[in-house]
């Protein structure tokens, strides 16, 4: 093959296959992309939560984009515990100061980063959360400390609209 000079016909074959492949890809893409989140799902991008009734040491769970979001008003002990942890003890090192800008309020996705279960509140070896599915332990900052989960629980984009209302998303 290599010593033969390509002929007109070889060029035509290659060009035909190439055009065919592009055409097939153009047809397949809409069929694949239709499975991605649609416009109505994307439209539910933010939710506002009234947190005025939440007292320290309590958590509420709200649904955002079909996923639970934990909003915890932390006690002073919990904050102290979260902030005293050394970075080298963490599996996924993140400062509590970066995770909870307002130290009293921890807002995070209540989704275990292992396989997506909802961890249980006030459980586990680190006084934070414990995932019943495969045994991941999270601390009072929602950081992974023990178990199969690879990352800390995710902090979504959120802001305080006023003193009593958090807007997630």
């Amino acid at each position: 093959m290599s010593d033969k000079k390509p002929k007109r016909r070889d060029f035509l074959f290659t060009a035909s296959y190439a055009v065919g492949a592009v055409g097939a890809a153009a047809v397949v893409w809409p069929l694949v992309d239709q499975m991605n989140p649609d416009a109505s799902v994307k439209a539910l991008a933010s939710t506002e939560v009234d947190v005025s009734s939440l007292t320290p040491g309590n958590t509420i769970t709200v649904l955002w984009r079909g996923k639970p979001v934990f909003i915890r008003r932390r006690t002073q002990e919990e904050i102290a515990e979260a902030r005293s942890v050394k970075m080298e003890d963490l599996i996924h090192p993140e400062k509590d100061e970066d995770r909870a800008k307002n130290p009293e309020w921890l807002v995070m996705l209540g989704v275990c980063t292992h396989l997506g279960c909802v961890p249980l509140n006030d459980k586990g070896d680190y006084d934070g959360w414990f995932c019943p599915c495969h045994g991941s332990h999270y601390d009072t900052s929602g950081r992974i400390r023990k178990g199969p989960a690879p990352w800390n629980m995710e902090i979504p984009k959120y802001e305080f609209v006023n003193a009593n209302t958090i807007k997630i998303g």
Partner: protein, 420 residues
């Protein structure tokens, strides 16, 4: 197959057969020469065909009443159970039918492992079988999601999240699978669609599986090549049809026991609670037939490696014909392999039990040892055993072991020494 000559007796039959040789095919299937020493472990192919057809028929009728919508699915299943005429029966047959299907497929697979049915020249039959097994797991998993109970929802969440272990593109793939940011209505409708599609893909593969089988013909308990047709074979009909039919009846007794006396024993009570995205059930377990692989997943402390180990445990079966270096098929003539075979059976059962237990302490330790042994069996023991094992001399024909003490054994030895 190509040497098969057949002419229909009737004129109309001949006219039709010349245009579409369906009667030749039917004749091939009835006359198909089958080793006469097939035991009852060989009846599970027929039983599995029955299971597939049962699932398709009951599934089709359930689909006439089921509503694939996150707000209505759970209620529509209760509607089937309470209001639809015989709905309870059809649903219990379908739900337990999945378990029966897996029970039969595991016996079928372990039959192959014992008698070396996966070895040359039957590798393609075996690989098609593994693909069918994978599709069965996909269909069973998606079917379990459809009632939209707590186990449905969280099982779907956990299993789809397995893909998030893939570096870089994992999260994107999971969002794509869900059609949203969590398991929700788009996930349910696409699972229903695929759950409806897969059985027909399996049906097509079953045709290929049987086609590939009919090229070399059946393996047999002695595991030697036989001439077909010969004194060592009997025609499929009526001999095997009757034997398969009897085994199927026995199987249906077990099936009926579950359907009528213990319809929920293989399920999970949490699935009678409607899906709630805010609360994960305290103890998530998959259906029993997936437990060994679940145990392997959990025994690896790293997320990505756990998923890789679990998938490898299934896919390693596809390359089994090349991992097993022994030319001798049947374990009857492999004294060491026979022992390792039973250790593997015990190992898989132990993994299954550990998969149902919480992943901690002693359970986790045992699951880890059993996982390591599972891979050791396929990657080390089988390749080495084929080279080292002293096997028992094979008989010349499948008749010989039955006659026992015949001079054939001496002849067999002579012939062997000549070959060497």
């Amino acid at each position: 197959m190509s040497d098969h000559e057949y002419t229909p007796k009737s004129k109309a039959g001949k006219w039709f057969n010349d245009r579409l040789p369906l009667l030749t095919l039917a004749n091939h299937l009835t006359d198909y020469p089958t080793p006469k020493n097939l035991n009852y472990w060989w009846t599970f192919g027929g039983i599995l065909t029955f299971c597939l057809i049962t699932q398709i028929v009951t599934g089709l009728t359930l689909a006439m009443h089921y509503i694939a919508h996150a707000d209505m699915a759970f209620e529509s299943v209760e509607h089937i159970m309470r209001d639809v005429n015989y709905g309870w029966l059809i649903r219990y047959i379908h739900a337990n039918g999945a378990s029966m299907f897996f029970l039969a497929v595991y016996i079928h697979i372990f039959r192959s492992l014992f008698y070396g049915s996966y070895k040359s020249p039957r590798e393609i039959i075996w690989i098609i079988g593994i693909i069918i097994y994978l599709l069965m797991m996909a269909a069973a998993f998606m079917g379990y999601v459809l009632p939209w109970g707590q186990m449905s929802f969280w099982g779907a969440t956990v299993i789809t999240n397995l893909f998030s272990a893939i570096p870089l593109v994992g999260e994107g793939i999971v969002t794509w699978l869900w059609g949203g940011y969590s398991v929700d209505n788009p996930t349910l409708t696409r699972f229903f669609t695929l759950h409806y599609l897969i059985p027909f893909l399996i049906l097509g593969l079953v045709v290929l599986h049987i086609w590939a089988l009919h090229v070399p013909g059946n393996n047999n308990p002695v595991g030697i090549d036989i001439k077909k047709p010969s004194k060592d074979t009997v025609p499929f009909h009526p001999y095997i049809v009757i034997k398969d039919g009897f085994a199927l009846l026995m199987f249906m007794i077990v099936f009926a026991f579950f359907v009528f006396y213990a319809p929920n024993i293989l399920g999970h009570a949490d699935n009678y609670i409607e899906a709630n995205p805010l609360v994960t059930p305290a103890h998530i377990v998959p259906e029993w037939y997936l437990l060994p692989f679940y145990a392997i997943l959990r025994s690896v402390p790293d997320k990505l490696l756990g998923v890789v180990a679990m998938l490898s445990a299934i896919l390693i079966l596809a390359v089994l014909p090349w991992l097993d270096t022994s030319k001798i098929r049947s374990a009857v003539f492999r004294p060491l392999y026979k022992q390792f075979y039973w250790i593997l059976v015990a190992d898989v059962l132990i993994l299954g039990y550990m998969g149902a237990m919480p992943a901690e302490g002693l359970y986790l330790l045992i699951a880890r040892v059993a996982t390591a042994y599972y891979f050791l069996h396929f990657l080390v023991i089988l390749p080495v055993l084929g080279l080292k094992e002293r096997t028992i001399p094979l008989p010349l024909s499948i008749t010989e072991p039955v006659l026992g003490g015949s001079p054939n054994m001496a002849m067999a030895k002579k012939k062997e020494s000549k070959l060497e």
